[in-house]
Amino acid sequence: MNPLKISIAVVLLFSFGLFFIGTDGFQAFTAETARTNDLIETQPEFPEVTLEDSHERTYSFSEFEGKHVFITFMYTACTSVCPQLEMNMYNVYKQLPEEAVGEDIVFLSISFDPENDDPETLSTYRGYFESDGETWRMARIPDQKELDRLLEEFGVIVIPDDNGHYTHNSAFYLVNREGNLTDVMDYTKVDEAADKVNAILANEKGV
């Protein structure tokens, strides 16, 4: 073997390693995919936080024990992604069987802007999406520490800018009856998400 061949081999091997490690074995070319894959694998538990919803009720997450929870993260001043996210959530909501909603599954929109999104604001915002406040609740987490922990656990990245807006990633999160995160779904694919949830619900009925 001459040095040229060896050095080319080393360079190629190094680069292969770099790309392999950097993309989790050519699985994840965006951080979002990597994060989702990771979350689905580790299934973190929803941490103990206190929610305050649009009806000014406060409760911890155990309120939903025994039910699936379909979650999105948003803030009401958002003009770009969030309205779309919530609209898509509404479309998923509509596609589920009426009897299951509220019984087997609850929808929850969590605001990561507790300072501005007080119950009154959330209540107004709720109206835009025909959320009933019961089977689809909108809530904030008043305690910033608790909120940060939840965002950290669920891999939600929220970066405030100077104008009261945030850069953030968006997805549908599904927490199972035991309070573990089981799936992170692409929020732009409404039908796919609805089918998935329906399948889970149907599956459980079958058992």
């Binding site: 050095s7 950097g22 070319f29 992604v81 850069t167 990633n169 692409d186």
Partner: protein, 184 residues
């Protein structure tokens, strides 16, 4: 002189406020900071080439291993994931600085003069295609590719890639239609 300027530039780019500013906007991060780090390495290269002439002569025959390393490292850093990781993980950020300077900038300098015209043009063709392709990916993608940057910034970056690709394409076209031997 050049290696000192390179080193100063490298350290300057590492200063937290400078790094933060350049990383605050997606296109600055990819098309300003990263090339600047590579350029700092390019400037530092003579220091290593003089210090270890044998190493470069033996292991970088005809410049080919070096240019492959340069190309692949640069390509790696155009993946959206890599950029996100650099922002969230300190180790990746450090690796970004080291790899772009010493595994892209240095090998580029150590290789370029040794390359034949064929290889030089191949590098231009490769980057034209890569930039064009990355531009289209960033422009066409419906979803947010980087968690740390907005989708609108992604479009800007896409146009950045495309315009550089177009400039490179113009360069390639003139290589084809203008024969330098007519003038030189």
């Amino acid at each position: 002189m050049q290696p000192i300027i390179g080193l100063i530039m490298f350290l300057f780019l590492m200063l937290p406020p400078v790094a933060n500013l350049l990383e605050s906007i997606m296109i600055f991060h990819m098309h300003m900071q990263m090339p600047l780090i590579a350029i700092s390495g390019f400037l530092m290269a003579p220091f290593f080439m003089e210090k270890f002439p044998k190493f470069f002569a033996k292991w970088n025959e005809r410049g080919i291993p070096g240019i492959i390393l340069f190309t692949l490292v640069m390509t790696y850093w155009s993946i959206p994931r890599a950029m996100d990781d650099a922002l969230t993980m300190y180790s990746v950020e450090l690796f970004k600085f080291i790899s772009l300077a010493f595994l892209a900038g240095v090998p580029l300098r150590a290789s370029w003069m040794k390359l034949t015209d064929f290889w030089k043009n191949a590098v231009f063709v490769f980057f034209t295609l890569q930039y064009g392709l990355m531009g289209l990916i960033y422009l066409m993608s419906d979803s947010q590719l980087c968690n740390n940057y907005l989708q609108s910034e992604q479009i800007t970056l896409g146009w950045g890639f495309l315009t550089v690709a177009i400039a490179l394409l113009i360069y390639l076209i003139q290589l084809v239609i203008i024969d330098p031997s007519d003038y030189e």
